[in-house]
């Protein structure tokens, strides 16, 4: 029962070659990617592609004949399911059954997918469009969510997809409409395809060149700064459930991104934290966020912005105006520490780190964006100063896994001694303790529990800190061959915080992983021992500087995760249990020159520009707010401030400008680094006004920044437009509105013309003109009412059609009109009367004999109008 062919064998071959093969190539690539992405043990993408191809070819063959899709596919599903039952029924032996059923299911699923695609290409017209458009959309989403923000990579990934999309749309319709009788069918197709591909390539290459700068802007803006930022909630192991948890700060962890550029500087920091000798710099890990909550449902760690006692200070630095400060001292009380604490400060100069991101050692509470010295502006894009309450006990040296370094062990031992004296956790608030020791139950977790208990027992540890050390040492153990049991590995699995089952696999079987694995496993072990802990993410600090003490360089591969353990009174202390990477030693980076330490801005004054004297170099402003010695003051009422601007640099958003650019009314920020102010420290009882009175007049000013209003900013930043996505809904509505108006005008056209003709008839001065317009108006009205003239003469029309149907006296009117038109003789009084009787009355007469619905529907018919005005043609 072979059904007749719908199209010839030639066309079938063309379909397979032109639609099938490119799709197969794409499918193969997608399968390969998916296999890698899902970290399947065996990457059988070739086999899967073959199954897919099989299904597709079968469908091509089948549907080149007149078979129906649904019944045949239902039968096919039935057969597939039946065979599946047989295969898995275990008649072949239990193991074989499992093996074969997995194989069979794979084949069935991929084959069936191929079948559907094959059907779509050969029969369903909408399929090729839907398929290619959605594939393009999906690809755009995938590319946009990729962790690599590199213009080249994006373009290379996106352009072929773009080509494929339009190629499929073009080719499927081309094949559909080809004349199969053509003996030169293949040549025709080849010719057209070649032409098409050349055009496509030209357009795509041109467009990509055109868009390249915009891609580069994005690359610069976001690129290296947050190389590992993972924004796709589906890919992330952390869940974004909208209940306040967020993945946005999911910082990269080393090993997270194999391609992390080791030479790429993220930022440079000057950390004002020294050992008691005052000379030896004491490096600290830089924190960005905490993973504190474990979601047992998804088995993943989460960043939880609702965590109790949240001591994370995480402002959007880019939103704080230059030199103004933002602080939140509430985090200090939430950090719950009072021993061995002091305030330290840090200056961070960002190279490719995102302008918005804030990172600083633990318990930061203050941020102040500062200007980058001119000499370094081409290297560093922004900078800020931060203050934090640091623990004397904390130190990168303390955190580093000593891995056998004796000096380091000694140093750490001293600190452990201090921590051993900490009180027990009985004093800690219950909800805090419960939250930070929360750990689910289950086989996997219980095995971790018993492991940690065993470790502690073997080490004989009693105090919390000893338990922590025992766990750290567990990771450093060596086997009988002297080889370390745990190894560092840039596991190419899914990036991010590992899930629980991965952690058990890591702890008990694999014993290879990167920092996130060590941190996660440690966290579980500590929590199972009842020690409050959390995973901190941020940057590992390496002291490489001998020339510039206190300066630290941060490279991309320093993104890191470690554990913070809470000790009553001492607060959160960093611990790093990650084993050193045996294969890849950190090559010390050659030091670069640090940015010139910027001067301290003693006075930052904000207000409106009043006047400027460019000769005397004196200017005045209405002082509204000021920052004096980092203390904010509000000037009430506002006071005029005379400024000595002889040394001042005037800055605009676009760069340095001359003093002439200052105009009265400008909103300005005046900054002074002058020692005059350094010698005038504010006293506690000083108010804004009392300080102002102490200021010298004119006050020495070093920098004046002209602040832009929001509109000016918008005008200056064209790229702002790129970032705001077009509101397509609005565009669609506008198009709809315009289309509606056009339609309205179009359909009201007949009526407008009718009114216009009548207006002309009423307003014409000359009698022959008047009769002409009357004639036109009448004819138009009748035409519009569907009383067709066809090939009749006006007289015939009037007599045989109109007068007969409506009982009007059009014939006599037309007669008079024609007389007037051709004889040029004026109408007699009698005749004039006849026309006057006829003209306005005709509309009422005709109208009264027609139904309203009929009249409306006919008046709306623009085709009639067009016919009325178009001259009859031989072709009509």
């Amino acid at each position: 029962m072979l059904a007749p062919r719908i199209y010839s064998f030639k066309k079938l071959v063309a379909q397979f070659l032109l639609l099938g093969l490119p799709t197969l190539l794409l499918a193969g690539y997608a399968f390969e990617l998916a296999n890698r992405y899902l970290a399947l043990l065996q990457n059988n993408w070739i086999q899967q592609t073959l199954f897919f191809a099989g299904g597709m070819i079968a469908a091509f063959g089948m549907f080149s004949r007149r078979y129906r899709f649904i019944p045949i596919t239902l039968v096919l599903i039935g057969i597939l399911v039946a065979i599946g039952r047989v295969v898995s029924s275990g008649k072949l032996g239990e193991f074989d059954a499992f093996f074969w059923s997995v194989k069979y299911n794979t084949a069935a699923v991929f084959g069936f997918a191929g079948w559907i695609v094959g059907y779509g290409f050969s029969r369903a017209r909408f399929f090729s469009i839907a398929w290619s458009v959605f594939l393009l959309a999906a690809m755009a989403v995938v590319i946009a969510s990729l962790s690599v923000v590199k213009t080249q990579t994006i373009i290379i990934a996106f352009a072929p997809m773009l080509l494929y999309t339009f190629y499929i749309i073009y080719t499927s319709e081309l094949l559909r409409n080809l004349n199969e009788d053509d003996p030169t069918l293949f040549w025709q197709i080849t010719k057209r395809l070649l032409g098409f591909i050349i055009i496509m390539l030209l357009i795509i290459v041109g467009l990509m060149k055109y868009y390249q700068p915009q891609f580069e802007i994005i690359e610069r803006e976001w690129g290296a700064g947050k190389p590992q930022e993972n924004n796709n909630p589906d890919n992330s192991l952390t869940r974004n459930d909208g209940s306040g948890t967020t993945t946005n700060q999911n910082m990269g962890l080393s090993g997270f991104n194999n391609k992390a550029n080791k030479d790429s500087v993220l930022f440079v920091a000057k950390l004002d934290n020294f050992f008691p000798d005052g000379k030896t710099p004491n490096p600290l890990y830089f924190t960005t966020d905490y993973y504190s909550k474990f979601d047992s449902e998804t088995q993943t760690f989460e960043v939880d912005s609702l965590r109790p006692y949240n001591d994370l200070f995480s402002p959007d630095v880019s939103k704080v105006p230059l030199f103004f400060t933002k602080q939140d001292t509430s985090v200090l009380s939430k950090a719950m520490s009072n021993k061995h604490r002091r305030v330290a400060s840090v200056e961070v100069y960002k190279h490719s780190l995102s302008a918005r991101l804030f990172t600083a050692p633990t318990t930061a509470f203050f941020v102040q964006p500062i200007s980058v010295p001119d000499e370094n502006k081409n290297i560093y894009r922004s900078a800020y100063r931060a203050k934090m309450m640091v623990s004397d006990l904390n130190s990168a040296y303390f955190v580093y896994n000593p891995a056998g370094d004796q000096g380091l062990e000694m140093f750490q031992e001293q600190r452990f001694e201090v921590l051993r004296n900490s009180k027990g956790y009985e004093t800690v608030p219950l909800n805090f303790y419960a939250y930070y020791t929360a750990m689910p139950h289950g086989n996997d977790y219980d095995s971790i529990r018993s492991l940690s208990q065993q470790i502690v027992k073997e080490a004989g540890a009693v105090s919390a800190v000893d338990k922590v050390v025992a766990i750290r040492d567990y990771f450093l153990r060596k086997d009988e061959n002297g080889q370390p049991t745990f190894k560092y590995s840039d596991n190419p699995g899914i990036p991010g915080m590992p899930s629980a089952n991965k952690l058990t696999y890591f702890l008990f079987d694999n014993k290879k992983g990167y920092c996130a694995y060590y941190a996660g496993a440690t966290l579980f072990m500590l929590r199972s021992l009842g020690i409050p802990s959390r995973v901190a993410t941020g940057f590992l600090t390496v002291d490489r500087s001998s020339k510039n003490p206190g300066w630290y360089w941060f490279y991309e591969d320093q993104a890191h995760a470690w554990v913070q353990v809470y000790f009553p009174e001492y607060g959160w202390i960093d611990f790093d249990t990650t084993v050193p990477d045996a294969e890849q030693q950190q090559a010390p980076q050659p030091d670069q020159t640090p940015p010139l330490a910027s001067q301290t801005a003693w006075l930052v004054a904000n207000g409106k520009m009043l006047s400027v004297d460019t000769v005397k170099k004196v200017a005045s402003m209405q002082l509204e707010k000021m920052l004096y010695w980092d203390q904010p003051y509000e000037m009430k009422p506002t006071q005029p401030l005379l400024m000595d601007v002889s040394l001042a640099k005037v800055l605009h958003d676009t760069g340095a400008v001359s003093i002439h650019a200052l105009k009265a009314g400008d909103n300005i920020v005046a900054i002074s680094y002058s020692t005059t102010f350094k010698d005038l420290p504010p006293l506690e009882m000083d108010s804004a006004l009392s300080l102002y009175k102490k200021f010298p007049q004119p006050a020495p000013i070093d920098e004046i920044k002209i602040m832009l209003t929001d509109e000016e900013k918008a005008a200056l930043e064209p790229k702002q437009e790129i970032e705001t996505p077009t509101d397509w809904q609005q565009v669609f509505l506008n198009v709809l509105l315009i289309a509606g108006i056009v339609l309205l005008v179009l359909f009201s056209m007949p009526y407008i013309i009718y009114r216009w003709l009548r207006l002309r008839a009423g307003g014409a001065g000359n009698n022959s003109q008047k009769q002409y317009w009357r004639y036109m108006a009448t004819m138009f009205y009748l035409n519009q009412m569907g009383i067709e003239r066809n090939s009749q003469t006006p007289m015939q029309y009037a007599r045989l059609t109109v007068d007969k149907q409506f009982g009007t006296r059009m014939e006599s009117f037309v007669q008079l009109y024609l007389k007037l038109k051709y004889s040029k003789q004026p109408l007699s009084e009698q005749e004039q009367k006849i026309t006057d009787q006829f003209y306005p009355a005709v509309f009422a007469t005709v109208s009264s004999q027609l139904k309203t619905g009929y009249k409306i529907s006919h008046f709306l018919n623009i085709k009639r109008t067009a016919q009325f005005f178009s001259k009859p043609s031989l072709y009509a």
Partner: protein, 457 residues
Amino acid sequence: MNKSTWRQRLSYISLFIPVRLYFLLFLAAAALALWWIRRQQPVEPNVTGDLLTLLVKAGFATAFLLFGLSILSVLVPFLWFTYKTKTRQVTVNIDNAEEASSRKIGRRINMDIEPLLKPFFGFLYFRFIYDDVKLSPKFSLIQKKGNVRWFSARQSGWYHWPLPAIREYDVQELVVYFEDLFQFFSFSMRLPVKQSFFTKPKSLVAKQQPISPQRTEEENVRIEELKRIEGEYLNYKNFEDNDDVRRIVWKIYARNKELVVRIPETMDPFASHIYMYASFFDSLHMPDNYLVNTRGLDYFKNACWTVYAQLVKDGRMVKFVTDQPIPNRHFSQVGEQVEYALAASNWHSKADLLSIVPPKGHALVCISSISAATQVEQLLQRQQQKTTVVMVSLSRGLKRNMIGNWIRWIFVQPGSDFEKQGFTEIRRYSTIRKMKSNEQLIWDILKKHGVPVVTLS
């Protein structure tokens, strides 16, 4: 029968709309995809959002550029052609359609249009409007070998028009479509053309029974051979001035000195002709039964043609008499005349069987399952007539194996409208049954009278 399907109606509307359904599909898909992408777009500004926006922009820019380019490349030749049409400079030649290769059903149409430029990045398609409302499939011309010219303002080539039904087609208009690269837009131009042609009936296999000639007929053929005829000078006349001297019968002159010439023989007094009557009379009133009007009608025409062709092949002289007015056309061959008469015939309910077959003499009568049984009976009862009947069972022309068809219909789509099987016409099923019972009735009558019946396998 002239009811147009929704597809045809859509095609007709599309003559006036420059946008094709494919484009609307694309727009819908793009809108959906955009909606989906916007849902994927994160709320907070970040790299994914920015990149996505830019990628979407790039995608749309590509689409707009491509569409713009392709529309432009189509609009130019279209406007040029419109101008040429309006100024009446376009000539269209449609070749009197020659029979296509025997394997395929339908006709091969040769066409020639000048001046007409092919869009550089686009396609040219054509369509005929025939029989007032019907539209041919959209087709492209296949250039003849050796006729391929680049950048020519003349388009010529052929197209095989699959026309399954055997009837006359009257082409009234040619629609020229200018379509862009993606075939999203289609600008059409209508040109009046005048061409009619018909598809010919095909011979079926006939179990031919010997049909004897049943009529004598005057034949205007001069007897070339001299016959020796004895007796009176019945066949001679006196010589007149304009007579050919060579025709003088010198034997008679020798005998009695009279100049006589032989009268050319104009009578051919032997039973030479078969009069064949095809009755398209529809006694069951099934003018809107789709099956009977397509497959059934064609089967009847083929059957009549088969009998006719077979008789002619056997050296008989057959006069085909149709029962309805046929447009007057001139054909050089009698066979073609009959082919045309059959093609142009249709079921009707005007002249019934008895009115077309004269009451005397012999006749070969083609009847069908929808002929009136009573009239067949009356015809056979005529005393002065000897009738041979060709009974065409229309149910054979339809599909026989109904159960098999049902199963087949589930799995196999009917091809064109023409090939539609009974299942889509389920409400007509009772009329088909009526037809079958009538058919059986006629067979019984034929058996009862024992008339010679020609059957077709």
